[in-house]
Assembly symmetry: C2
Homo-oligomer: 401 residues x 2
């Protein structure tokens, strides 16, 4: 089957063909786990070798693809030239969270070129001061980048609701920030000319599960991602793409009501999930100080501490009620736990999967699964960089000028 155009209401012309196929070739190379040859690209896309080679050459000239070292394996026939995503293009991913600052540079091959992660308690911090600190971190990082590396864009992951188009952080209760325009603040974080897009931390972190490298799909195409920071954010990934809703308000799983007659939440509702499975709720119920780590909680549970065990059970129950609702509505039985929930995943799994099995309508046909990725810290920063690099993959032609 041949390609079909997207729903942009604009006629396709010859140049559209070229643009499209350039993108297709680039994405094909990026999607592959190992390097491909021109001939492989032709086979994968259904083009002739002639066409594939023409397009590859154009991408090589623009630096979007690199030729690798010849594979010295003894094989019949003319040896193939391996193709790789261009190492010269990279993107900057930043993250501000209640507990850390991070800056990370990812190249088109998905490699971490450089990174800085700094633990910090930023609850209730002054936005200007925090952005200044982030700026310091970032300029240090950028100063050490290898020469010739070209930053194609960047993103900033924030633990809250974001209006991407307007560049406004609408609500970030963990940081204590709200209705914060970021354009001016960001201008001092990165050098001029580098566009920095805001993003919700959960949305961006979910990308690191959906994609293991720019353009290369991860193990799951459809899943619900839960990002347990102090609150509980979430993202829905359908068909490998994050569903962001008509504006940035999707994924607020933490404020799904699990007990209507429960205590009041700061959001105005009652009995929200966060009150039972949020970081503070879990620690408080376990009798731990609020600056304890999920690991401390896990240790107590393994030592059969009654309060900690009860706290975890309550958390699993609340997650079960909330996630069952989400699974029933969205129809995705796969849940990936990130953030502090990732560290507790193994302890939560039995009870949580049990609750889901009982409350999810489709459970008899497809058992809901709880997964936890073993990724590095500050997944949001990586996701922000992935998003920026995804922009290059979507339309490489306008980078070939």
């Amino acid at each position: 089957m041949t390609q079909r155009l997207a729903d942009v209401p604009s006629g396709a012309r010859q140049s559209t063909l070229r643009t499209t196929n350039l993108g297709l070739v680039l994405r094909t190379v990026c999607a592959s786990a190992g390097p491909l040859s021109r001939s492989d690209v032709a086979a994968a896309t259904g083009m002739t070798r002639a066409t594939a080679a023409r397009l590859v050459d154009e991408l090589l000239a623009g630096g979007l693809l690199d030729e690798g070292e010849r594979d010295p394996l003894p094989r019949r026939g003319r040896p193939a030239t391996p193709l790789l995503p261009g190492a010269r293009f990279a993107a900057l991913g930043l993250q501000v969270d209640a507990g850390l600052l991070a800056a990370r540079v990812l190249d088109l091959r998905g490699r971490v070129v450089a990174e800085r992660v700094e633990q910090a308690d930023l609850r209730g911090s002054e936005p200007a001061a925090t952005f200044a600190r982030l700026g310091g971190l970032t300029s240090g990082l950028l100063a050490g980048l290898p020469a010739g590396l070209q930053l194609v864009g960047g993103g900033l992951a924030l633990p809250g609701v974001v209006d991407e188009r307007a560049g406004v952080l609408l609500r970030a209760p963990n940081l204590g920030w709200s209705d914060l325009p970021t354009a001016d603040l960001l201008r001092r974080v990165v050098p001029p000319g580098l566009a920095l897009d805001l993003g919700n931390e959960a949305d961006l972190a979910a990308r690191t599960v959906a994609q293991e490298a720019p353009g290369r799909a991860g193990p799951h195409r459809d899943f619900l991602y839960l990002s347990g920071q102090i609150g509980i954010g979430g993202a829905i990934v359908l068909d490998g793409r994050v569903v962001t809703g008509s504006s940035g308000w999707a994924g607020e799983v933490g404020h799904v009501c699990v007990r209507p007659d429960g205590p009041a939440c700061s959001c105005g509702s009652t009995g929200c999930l966060e009150l039972y499975a949020g970081r503070h709720a879990l620690l408080r119920a376990a009798g731990l100080p609020l600056d304890a780590s999920p690991g401390d909680l896990a240790r107590l549970v393994r030592d059969a501490d009654p309060a900690a065990t009860a706290a975890l059970e309550t958390g699993a129950w609340a997650l079960g009620v909330a996630l069952a609702g989400v699974v029933n509505v969205v129809g995705i039985p796969t849940v990936v736990l990130g953030g502090h929930l990732a560290e507790l995943a193994d302890l939560l799994r039995p009870a949580l999967e049990g609750h889901l099995a009982g409350r999810v309508l489709s459970a008899r046909w497809r058992r809901p699964r709880i997964l936890s990725p073993g990724g590095p810290l500050a997944a949001g920063a990586t996701g922000a960089a992935l998003r920026a690099l995804g922009g290059v993959l979507a339309d490489p032609a306008d980078r070939l000028g």
Copy 2:
């Protein structure tokens, strides 16, 4: 901006250009409220008049477009030839519900060419008998169709979870059917050669809100559709498209838990929305017999009957809890009430909007709205026909052969 290809990993060639642009022209004509001329099409798509005219002529030859009567309005310049979606193509939409059987034929212009709707109590009915009855309805309908009308496909809306690909009805509690393969049954409903695809009633009914005619968008691009039959089904519409999830299990809003310590539901969970806002629950709580209509309930409430009022309040409360969760997760503040909930919408709205305002995180920024469409009966049948016609719009080229 020019078009970009979708994510099908196959190279675009010259013929792809043609195919794409044919589809674009057809969809442009369909999307317009009034007839367009070749010149209008060119302007809307950014093509030259020459190209637009070439494509239009090809579509005219295939019957996918018709030329209309010249507009006798006195205007300067050469009079334009109005173009309309081809009246010769139509699709068959069927619906089986707990309370009715319906068959409807819709043409490419969105007009109802013929229809038959029959009230019937099909709860616990024998599938074979019911399909036979549907077959009778359908053959009567098809026999009366104008000569020359060409059916391009069909669909059957069912009140339950459906595996579209396998053609299996997995679960339809209102009908009392489950794990029912439909291929053999459907073969006797429609003439051979007409493909009939299954669909969930709520998903298909939602299309009638998303599209007011094939290819023409309705007033809302993003909304949550609630289909109150005996149970409560739902559909998420994002960007004008129904989100069906990785299989057909999306939209089971009726089994979102609104009171974890509530009574047991037949689904295995406890305190499901259906137990408070389902048709039976509302009628029972109001002291009405189960075969009463939502209109009867509405009348009682308007007469200030205490039981009925309490029933409605409980329903609104339960809907508020469940929908707030969905809105928080999916980020769409627009809810369209269909089925029996549509008749109660005006009575539910004040309390329901109040609950949502209190429980939805984004309410301060975007107030959640409750809408009810005033569509005809058996929206699922219309939606099934719309879906089939949408297939023609997506790829008109393979019908030009």
